[in-house]
Symmetry: D3
Subunit: 137 residues, 6 copies
């Protein structure tokens, strides 16, 4: 059967701050600039989850996008939406919530729920002009 | 010469229904949910056709996008736009018109008109949040 | 208190057909062209509901957009999404489901649930290039 | 000379929290739901500033959009971008930073710099699905 | 019958230069900055034509959007698309092709073809961040 | 460390003309159609620069997107924005400024400033419907 990639778009709104606690405020500002604001700032994150695999002959689906929508809601939106990523998402206790690291965390949270024969890729827009992609490399 | 991918975006509006005639209505509803509505529903499909190959030294083109626009119009838009996919597009007499299957049908319809040294990929948006890609794998 | 307009965007996917049963097929095709296809075609409708009024001093809201989101879901999305407008939405038994008429039907369905001191406007995108606005005039 | 409205789009990313300090946490949650998160959440705000007036015969401009771009940068972006609205923008010390109130604050900050013969309107997107407009009424 | 506004989106790509021949180069640069480049620069203009009037009882249309599409193509796109506005569009021989003036020229070209009982408005995007509206005032 | 691709979006507005000086006007028109207009036409080009590499353990960045933004501004926007590509960008003295060739020129201009362990890809939108990608193949 042909191999197709299916994509589902979702979104969440969150606050964050980029900083490294081993560094001074001035070093943090030098590296992360206004993103290091200790009072936090925030974004409307747009998320695309992509799954590649063979079309199922019976259904014509690679993976039910309604099921993927619910999975993203339960595993990502409920944990990230209207949250402070630094304070309320455990992975970012010790990890800087850059778009790069957030995409890896989302990948890891979803990967365990997705059948292993499907390839997965995460695209995460932090703003309409800054975005990242991660596919488990 | 450098290898570049050129992309052309097009669109068509169509009605469809997801169902499998071997299955009962309730089984169809269980699998395809509201997409199984026997009275049909519809979408504004957004289509991107991508062709990868070497830049022609004389023209600076990989493939004339005006020609690609006309090809998509003749082979896809005229057959799919303002149509009922299940009833009026022959490939879907026996094939469920999921986004996955539609992308394969579009790929196959166009592939025969595109020079074989060019790689081709189809991206099809069923809604702004659900889309698929197929590149002949 | 200042008067502000708040807007909430929603969407639904539906099939429809433009035709007038008093007219012949050829007259219908002459007026409605490919939109008169008796097998139906469809769209991803994008809907914006706008409410204008004074900011409430206590909440800072004109109207709770979460409440408006639920109202649109209950009154419009559940009735229109993944439906055939001609067959399954009673108002269109005798009324042609043009974007113009759909916007008036949506306005009338919502108006009764919105406090009368708020002005209301409906914007409805049938495609990204065709859309309408109606404000009860 | 003809009267035209000119519009300039800008954006800023900020954290905020909706709450009313006279109210208990549970009352705040009841009214503002997840927007009341005391750890803050955030948005990519998209801002449109619109000015209406006669075209200047010499320049063909209603108002120089380069000048408007700089004014928005100095008066709004520098004060709001990558900031925590509740903590770092003085107007929100006592005022809930709902989209409605933010649009009024932006209007008031800009109005004093815009010639009085021009009408002004503010459009503010909090998310792609929630937005407000304010024109000084 | 209810009064509805119908909108049709179109686009054209053109080169232009902002300058006033009575002024020196340095005065032109001072006022129009990089837009005064004598070698021209260009834009993908996005155009929205809006018509407001009563819904026709027989058709459910305010104005046939297919007809409006053809009118925009004949009167605007054929004259402006892939053209140099300063050199090839007669109205700009003596008039600076600012977005403001282009919107007035488009309004005047279309107004004569639109029934007088319909109100008309032009929205013209010069870039995604700069746009204008004109309604004949 | 995981390998992530980071993307930064930028834009510039420019005039151009497609033609080959070895060819007659009629041959140029035959091949490039209205794009061969000797008076030039223009576009709002949207540019995406993508860099793939390992996340830096200390910063959580693959490459500082603020630095990439400044690099694009200095190397591309200042040279291309509000310019006539045929006349004012040296690479196009002898090279047709098709989207394909522009993407290769941008790639080559940026590649020398980007660390060699990062993979780079350029996406260039000439219009919302025509775009190209180049990754150095």
């Amino acid at each position: 059967m042909p191999k197709v990639t299916v994509h589902r778009k979702a979104h969440f709104n969150a606050a964050h701050q980029l900083h490294r606690k081993e560094w001074s405020s001035s070093k943090n500002f030098e590296v992360f600039n206004k993103c290091s604001n200790p009072n936090f700032h925030g974004h409307n994150y747009e998320l695309i989850v992509s799954l590649k695999g063979e079309i199922d002959k019976e259904t014509g689906y690679v993976y039910d996008l309604g099921k993927l929508k619910r999975l993203i809601k339960e595993e990502i939106e409920e944990a990230f939406d209207h949250k402070n990523l630094n304070i309320e998402v455990p992975e970012f206790k010790e990890l800087n919530p850059t778009a790069e690291n957030i995409s890896v965390v989302i990948y890891n949270r979803l990967r365990v729920h997705i059948p292993s024969h499907l390839e997965m890729e995460i695209t995460l827009y932090e703003t309409p002009r800054n975005f990242v992609t991660y596919s488990g490399d």
